[in-house]
């Protein structure tokens, strides 16, 4: 019997040892990171998470995508020797769902970061007594605005997209989402922005924070833009006026310092929101535009010679936005991201010029567009004149338009926007927004593009394709279609 007791004792001891010693072994937590349950504890962590949202904008290929989506299908880029096949396919309107430029993953990465902040930051209020409701709202507002901006890009580029407003935090989360219509996405963008407007701060106390983080006025700028896409002109003007009346912004003087102030130094008094690159995170533009490498793009002939006609009589007279700012006339390079000033180039290691999202000039011209649509043509023309005078625009590019000539003023605003925001990733969106109004009344704006851009043997097909309005939006990338069975391809690409 004693032998039996001994056995039992030894066995129980062993059992005890085994189960207790296994404790660590069963505890599966990553050693190189923090899990969510341990993260959302302090206000510093919330700040870090919001910073992470902004930092994700710098991760390739996001800004490169935003630039290419806004310019590649328009008429101001010209293919150079380093052009990639997928880029040439888009120029030729020869787009397929296998084209890597139709991959929206980078944008959804940022959206997911924002979703995380919006969902989990409120928990911190319980854990950190020093964290205030106002501070929390500020952070959530920034995340909502940033998410809205990303959806705004998606809706303009892809049309209908899945609207994911919850973070993907575990395997249980639903990721198989169907697409929402472009209209629904834009409505959500407006809802989010209106909420964000209530939440975000107007001033972060430091200039680079005021330009690199989303302020209330940046939200107003985005709203003004979205309303233009929704053809809600009154609301757009109201948002523009909020920025104009804030007294925080003005046009940078149009002299030799105009270009370096806005584009080399960054954070100018004209800037409302820009993506700040830095020495550790360079922008993608050097290898795209620099003549010292096998560049992919140059400034198109149309941009150089028609949009910015130089004065043949007096070469001294020049539009400050043309030669030496948007591009260099002598080698056709896109200078906006390459120049220190009109003559000196950045080194490849100093290619950290910011990507402009909204500038004060944009507010003025958006207001002009809305005014024109409401039949207040003269006021629109007055705004164009302000922009032109500041830029020393050449008489050759002036257009004589009657205040009641709505189409004429639209053309004028578009031409002025092309000069003002050359290579800031806006041209295609500008053309598309104006073309699609009133059931594609101005489809000529899009059809005229390819005669200048597509390779000659693709020109006719390209024009015919653009007659299909679904072709104005990129396809859903084949990988997304394969992994998310609820996605339906844009009918043009089926």
């Amino acid at each position: 019997m004693t032998r039996n007791t001994t056995y039992i004792l030894v066995l129980s001891a062993l059992l005890l040892l085994t189960t207790t010693s296994c404790d660590k072994y069963l505890d599966l937590k990553p050693k190189d990171g923090v899990v969510r349950q341990e993260f959302w504890q302090t206000k510093e962590q919330v700040a870090a998470a919001v910073n992470g949202c902004y930092a994700s904008l710098l991760a390739p290929p996001l800004v490169e995508n935003l630039f290419l989506w806004g310019e590649l299908r328009a008429d101001m880029l010209e293919a150079r020797s380093g052009i990639r096949r997928q880029e040439l396919d888009i120029i030729n309107v020869n787009i397929e769902s296998t084209n890597p430029l139709s991959n929206w993953a980078a944008v959804y990465t940022t959206i997911n970061y924002c979703n995380n902040v919006i969902k989990f930051a409120p928990e911190v209020l319980r854990n950190d007594n020093t964290f205030t409701q106002a501070a929390l709202n500020g952070y959530i507002g920034e995340a909502m605005a940033l998410r809205a901006l990303m959806y705004f890009y998606l809706a303009r580029t892809f049309g209908d997209v899945p609207l994911k407003l919850e973070p993907t935090a575990s395997d249980k989360d639903e990721v198989q989402l169907p697409k929402s219509s472009q209209q629904d996405v834009l409505n959500q963008v407006v809802t989010d922005l209106k909420q964000a407007e209530q939440y975000v701060q107007t001033n972060y106390g430091k200039n680079e924070l005021n330009k690199g983080r989303i302020t209330k006025y940046a939200v107003n700028a985005m709203l003004a833009d979205v309303y233009l896409w929704q053809n809600d002109y009154q609301s757009s003007i109201a948002e523009c006026n909020k920025v104009i009346n804030s007294g925080q912004y003005g046009l940078v003087v149009g002299d030799n310092n105009w270009f370096p102030t806005i584009f080399y130094e960054g954070g100018s008094s004209e800037s409302i929101f820009e993506v700040y690159f830095n020495i550790n995170r360079l922008n993608p533009f050097y290898s795209m535009f620099s003549p010292s490498v096998s560049r992919r793009f140059g400034a198109s002939l149309l941009a150089r010679e028609e949009i910015f006609a130089s004065n043949p009589e007096e070469i001294i007279e020049k539009d400050i936005r043309g030669d030496g700012a948007a591009f260099k006339l002598n080698d056709g390079s896109i200078w906006k991201y390459l120049g220190v000033n009109s003559g000196t180039a950045r080194s490849s290691a100093a290619s950290y010029g910011n990507f402009m999202v909204y500038r004060y000039a944009d507010i003025l011209l958006m207001k002009a567009e809305a005014l024109n649509e409401l039949g207040q043509g003269q006021e629109a023309l007055d705004i164009i004149e302000i922009i032109r005078t500041r830029a020393n625009a050449l008489p050759e590019t002036a257009q004589v338009v009657e205040p009641d000539d709505k189409n004429g003023i639209t053309d004028y605003i578009l031409a002025e926007r092309a000069r003002e925001f050359a290579y800031e990733g806006k041209r295609w969106y500008d053309l598309l927004r104006n073309a699609r109004r009133n059931n594609y009344e101005r489809s000529d704006l899009l059809l005229n593009i390819v005669a200048n851009t597509a390779q000659l043997e693709f020109q006719q097909s390209a024009i015919t394709k653009l007659r299909d309005k679904n072709s104005h939006y990129l396809p859903v990338y084949f990988y997304e279609l394969a992994t998310n069975k609820k996605l339906v391809q844009n009918p043009f690409y089926q």
Binding site: E305, S310, I315, T464
Partner: protein
């Protein structure tokens, strides 16, 4: 039932069953992959979807093509859906595919099949890069119906689904059966009453028979296919030609249109291009040979309009004739047909001197600072200029700086960094000349003397000219006589011409023709042998009125740049020294 008390009784069957299980499972055959890939091939893909493809599958099996399309290969196949084939059967009056004869089905399969893999991204406005196995090319395009654009295949079917990639190629699904052309060019033109005048002209000149031969009946592959630019009765009527007799009266000079030297014969021949040229092939080349042996047509693409013979000749713009795009690219068995919106004819021209500024390039004249004194010289890389090509390095368009005046026409010139044999530097330059009328010309190259280009072989259309030019040679210096720097003692323009040298500027005493000396406006200049002059490269024989290729190859090694101002093409018998060209743009005529 007896109660089972002993374990032995039930253990035995249990062991048996267990053994059986072990035996069965262990004997299970292992599956080996006998294929290197699990991708399906064309035939199997179609068999898997009988609801859409059963008819085409049937055709493949009837024609025994199923085996080869199920095997290894690289194919592109256009597959008509069942609906498409049913419509085709109805049109043919057949009940099922087996009612069609095997040879016909074979042709049908061949016309839908290309031995190449062509994804839809390569469908452009013209033909596919490889012909079908039937022999005819398929053309592609796009069509918009009610706002929806689809790709149009051979103007007969719409592309329903593109780029299904299978193991041995690509499947494109189409909504109609493609039908090859059965008519020759001659028959096609004859069949259209709108082309009756042109058709009669073909018959009267003997070109009808020429264009009525099937490619398989010809051994000379260069004569198998032709491209005809047809002019309809309406187009001719607009030009005042109402009947064949009008056409004959207007063009036939010998009264015998069959004769190869008759102008009507040449007129018709001028509308026939050798080879198969769909519109992209037409507008991607600047000129095309015709069956009129000495004449070419030139092509210009202006936005989306294609113009024939839209030329600048002798400083005058001659408006061209437009091709009607929508009724062109019509495939015949032995070629392709394009339709003209306006008529065109051979232009009778006599050799005329061409004084060509090499800076007169479309990319340069469009520059905002063209011919303007400026500080930035636009740079071009090889390939940037459509009509000038070179091996490597940046070519610059320069306007002569005030401080160091050269006496070049319009003050501008083209700068090449090098012209030397060194493998690491530029060793050749190729210019596409302006339109030269057939005839013999002397070629003069006007340049700025620099250190480079100490030995250059010039060739015209690949034929080398006899003289080796030295672009770095300093001639005897100028001499001040009165207020003019002029030729040195004992040297006259004529004596220099005998040596193949001329001064390209100045030469007349009238104030409007004088060239001021650069740093002293009181003085003038008419010869600058140490800095800039023109050299005779040789005599060329232009066999065809066209734009030609003038090439410079380095045969000398040494550093230094070369800078070109003008190239003169002057008919052999004409005065070679005049006119001259001043920096301010004045042309100095012969006194």
């Amino acid at each position: 039932m007896e109660k089972m008390s002993s374990p032995k009784n039930w253990l035995a069957p249990l062991v048996g069953v267990l053994l059986l299980i072990i035996t069965f499972t262990s004997c299970q055959k292992e599956e080996f992959d006998i294929y290197t890939t699990s991708d399906v091939n064309i035939s199997e893909y179609l068999q898997k979807d009988p609801a859409t493809f059963s008819h085409f599958s049937k055709i493949l099996s009837l024609t025994k093509a199923e085996g080869s399309l199920g095997g290894y290969g690289t194919y592109t196949v256009f597959v008509p859906t069942n609906t498409a084939i049913e419509a085709y059967l109805k049109e043919q009056g057949k009940a099922s595919v087996s009612d069609i004869s095997i040879p016909e089905l074979e042709e049908l399969v061949k016309f839908h099949l290309i031995r190449d893999t062509i994804p839809s991204r390569e469908f452009n406005d013209g033909k596919l890069r490889t012909a079908t196995m039937f022999g005819q090319y398929i053309i592609t395009g796009a069509q918009n119906n009610d706002g929806n654009t689809k790709r149009l295949i051979n103007r007969q079917a719409l592309l329903e689904q593109a780029d299904i990639r299978v193991g041995n190629g690509i499947i494109h699904v189409i909504d109609n059966v493609l039908k090859p052309s059965r008519q020759t060019l001659a028959q096609m033109i004859e069949a259209n009453p709108e082309y009756s005048v042109f058709s009669q002209a073909l018959k009267e000149t003997g070109y009808y028979e020429y264009l009525n031969i099937l490619p398989k009946d010809l051994s000379d592959s260069s004569k198998m296919f032709h491209t005809v630019m047809v002019e309809s009765n309406t187009v001719l009527k607009a030009a005042g030609i109402n009947s064949f007799n009008d056409l004959k009266a207007k063009y036939s000079n010998t009264g015998d249109p069959k004769s190869a030297s008759d102008s009507l014969n040449l007129y018709v021949g001028y509308h026939i291009l050798p080879g198969l040229k769909y519109l992209p092939e037409i507008f991607k080349a600047t000129s095309h040979n015709t069956l009129s042996p000495l004449d070419v047509i030139t092509i210009k693409l202006n936005g989306t309009t294609i113009l024939v013979n839209d030329d600048s000749f002798n400083g005058k713009h001659e408006p061209g004739s437009e091709i009607k795009r929508e009724s062109s690219d019509i495939t015949a068995v032995n070629g392709v047909l394009h339709t003209m919106k306006d008529p065109y004819a051979i232009k009778v021209r006599f050799p005329i001197a061409v004084f060509w500024e090499v800076t007169d390039q479309p990319e340069i004249t469009k520059l905002a600072n063209f011919r303007k004194m400026n500080t930035s010289s636009p740079k071009f890389k090889p390939g940037d200029l459509q009509d000038v090509n070179w091996q490597m390095g940046d070519v610059q368009y320069r306007v002569a700086p005030e401080a160091r005046q050269f006496y070049v026409y319009h003050n501008d010139y083209l700068f090449f960094p090098a012209l030397r044999t060194n493998v690491a530097a530029n060793s050749w330059i190729e210019f596409k000349t302006p339109l030269l009328v057939k005839g013999r010309y002397k070629v003069w190259i006007s340049f700025i003397r620099r250190k480079g280009g100490g030995g250059v072989l010039v060739s015209f259309n690949g034929k080398p000219l006899p003289r080796i030019l030295k672009f770095n040679e300093q001639l005897a210096g100028m001499r001040l006589v009165g207020d003019t720097y002029t030729y040195p003692e004992g040297v006259t323009p004529e004596s220099l011409e005998a040596l193949g040298i001329k001064s390209p500027f100045g030469g007349r005493p009238e104030p409007e023709y004088r060239v001021p000396f650069y740093n002293n406006p009181e003085l003038f200049i008419e010869y600058h042998g140490s800095q800039n002059y023109a050299l005779l490269a040789g005599t060329i024989d232009v066999e065809k009125t066209d734009r030609h290729v003038l090439r410079m190859d380095a045969v000398w090694e040494g550093s230094g740049d070369v800078q070109f101002d003008m190239i003169h093409f002057i008919p052999e018998g004409e005065d070679q020294l005049w006119p001259k060209f001043n920096p301010d743009g004045t042309i100095v005529p012969k006194p």
